[in-house]
């Protein structure tokens, strides 16, 4: 189980970072989504697998509830953030008529 989790986290990080470095702005936004999933999985692995039972009062072998609470908060925040990223991308691709990062560089003049 640990090996599987580690492999999953590692490959998600790799894919996320590779996508972030692409020239296409939409691909890089997708990379950000994958990266935030990788981080959520990492947070889950910091304590949730220690126990076998759900975290409630009186459980025999409770798992750690805090990472789950952290992930829940992080998911909500990243969902809001990503929705805003996508809406900004909509505006940008309509205005510049391209999704290539090199052509969206009018500010630096």
């Amino acid at each position: 189980m640990e090996l599987l989790t580690a492999l999953a986290i590692g490959s998600l990080f790799a894919v996320g970072i590779y996508q972030m470095l692409r020239r296409n702005v939409i691909r890089s936004a997708i990379g950000l989504i994958i990266l935030s999933s990788a981080i959520n999985l990492f947070l889950l692995s910091t304590g949730a697998y220690l126990g076998t039972d759900p975290a409630y009062d009186g459980a025999a072998n409770p798992s750690d509830g805090l990472p789950q609470a952290l992930i829940l908060t992080a998911i909500v925040i990243s969902m809001g953030g990503l929705a805003f990223v996508l809406s900004l991308l909509g505006v940008i691709s309509a205005r510049y008529e391209t999704s290539n990062m090199d052509e969206i560089e009018r500010l630096t003049r």
């Binding site: 990266l35 981080i39 910091t46 952290l70 953030g81 990223v85 969206i104 500010l107």
Partner: protein
């Protein structure tokens, strides 16, 4: 009594909610925002005064759970001082927005978002929990981005995208740091973490978490290798917003570095401090030279922030009580000066018939606007550190602390770097207020933004330059407090 520390966060938050209901009356919304921020400044000053009088931080435990389990909001001298500084600048930012002619300040969401920005920034300074810090910075980032995206600059959306993307990346780093520290020490409370890190400095993921936190705060403060988003962003943001972002929001990273070196990683501080000195000196030179090479006043001031943050980082990096006090004075003074300068640049852009702060547009426009010229000149002197302004006090303290710490080489480099400040600010002044106009098609508009806010800020700058005693006493007390992390830990974990 402990609920006092909640007021600086709750007042702007509730104010933002109520301001949303005033959407149909933007004028009333603005006046309401001014009132809310005025109340918040009063509450924060009272908090700071209480903390200074009693010598104890005010700690609030969320839901009545004690510190390592519940979320603690800690109002100590450092958090209170920075929160007060931010709220004063944000209050004057509202004054500027009320007198601005921009279309975007009429946007119904402008003032609620402005108040949310205040909430996020104050909360980040006052929280005692690492995950809570993440939540408040996200709040800050999202409101800051939307405020930029509504800019009437053509490239507002592009700038907002750059800022948001890089900030989400910083948030990812912060979340990863949360995870690594939690898996190593089983807590996220700053005081509890500090205690456990001191007890067990050999956890394998400790260095990783330091690196991740460094990266987060470097992105937040736009420190040299992570600065690339900042000039674009500050050029395109509306003036009232960019004046806030370039002055107080970048101080979040400074706060983070101070907490890291004086509370969380006291044992490992030497490594962080060395890095901060190196990056600070690089930032001073890079920022100064880039500011000399720009063609836009706002962009020049954004690069200048890069250099000034460098001075602050070097002060934190020396780590002696004198230099930390000097860095704090520098932080407060730079916020006031930079906000005033950006407002003046925005004022010039608002008076030009083509709305831009580029030198090609604003050169020579200042001849009929002598009041703005005087204010800009005083601001330029303050930025370069020439008496009788507060910039002189902060630079003098910083150089003095460097000589005390026998860091003569770094002090020399900084002195050379601050010459660059004098060059670019004076060149901007000369172009706008002395030289003849280059482009005769650009006309002066009869009315533009109001000068009240920058005038008040410059007044504060002069006041703090002539009567610097209270601020210096406060920062000295803060430095003494920062030197005793054990007191912070007992106050949060042991107090009731």
């Amino acid at each position: 009594m402990n609920h006092l520390v909640l007021l600086p966060i709750l007042i702007p938050f509730l104010g933002a909610v109520i301001a949303l209901f005033l959407m149909r009356a933007p004028r009333w919304q603005g006046v309401w925002t001014l009132g809310v921020l005025g109340t918040a400044v009063t509450a924060t000053s009272y908090l700071l005064w209480t903390v200074q009088q009693t010598g104890e931080p005010v700690v609030y435990y969320g839901g009545g759970w004690m510190a390592p389990f519940g979320i603690a909001i800690v109002g100590d001298l450092l958090g209170g001082l920075l929160a007060l500084m931010s709220q004063v600048v944000l209050l004057l930012g509202t004054v500027y927005a009320l007198g601005a002619k921009d279309k975007n300040v009429r946007y119904p969401g402008f003032y609620p978002l402005f108040l949310m920005l205040t909430t996020g920034l104050t909360g980040a300074f006052l929280t005692g929990d690492l995950f809570n810090l993440f939540v408040f910075t996200e709040l800050l980032v999202i409101s800051g981005t939307v405020l930029t995206a509504i800019s009437d600059d053509k490239y507002g959306a592009e700038a907002a995208y750059k800022y948001f993307y890089i900030s989400l990346l910083a948030a990812a780093f912060l979340l990863l740091a949360n995870g690594t520290l939690y898996v190593s020490y089983g807590t996220l409370n700053l005081a509890d973490l500090a205690e456990r890190i001191a007890q067990n400095p050999d956890a394998p993921l400790l260095t990783t978490s330091i690196a991740l936190l460094m990266a987060t705060f470097m992105i937040k403060s736009a420190v040299f290798p992570f600065h690339f988003w900042q000039p674009d962003f500050h050029t395109a943001a509306p003036t009232a917003v960019s004046a806030m972002l370039s002055s107080v929001v970048v101080k979040l990273g400074v706060y983070g570095f101070l907490r890291m070196t004086t509370l969380l990683f006291v044992e490992q501080a030497a490594l962080i401090q060395t890095l901060l000195i190196v990056l600070g000196v690089i930032g001073i030179f890079f920022g100064g030279l880039s500011a000399i090479g720009t063609h836009n006043v706002k962009r020049m001031l954004a690069y200048s922030t890069l250099a000034q943050i460098g001075f602050i980082l070097v002060g934190i990096g020396w780590g002696t009580p004198l230099s930390i006090a000097a860095a704090l004075v520098f932080t407060v003074n730079h916020s006031l000066i930079k906000a005033a300068m950006l407002m003046l640049a925005g004022f010039m852009a608002s008076r030009a018939s083509v709305k831009s702060a580029a030198f090609a547009v604003v050169t020579g426009l200042g001849k009929q606007l002598p009041v703005a010229g005087v204010l800009f000149f005083v601001g330029a002197l303050a930025l370069a550190g020439i008496p009788p302004t507060s910039g002189f006090i902060s630079k003098m303290l910083l150089f003095n602390s460097g000589v005390e710490a026998t860091q003569i080489v770094v002090v020399g480099l900084m002195a050379v770097g601050s010459l660059a400040t004098l060059i670019y600010t004076m060149r901007a002044f000369q172009r706008i207020w002395w030289e003849p106009q280059v482009d005769a098609t650009i006309k002066l508009k009869p009315a533009g933004d109001k000068l009240i806010a920058p005038a008040l800020l410059i007044g504060l700058v002069l006041l703090l330059g002539i009567w610097a005693e209270p601020l210096i006493q406060l920062t000295d007390a803060t430095t003494v407090w920062l030197g005793r992390p054990d007191l912070y830990i007992t106050a949060v974990l042991g107090g009731g």
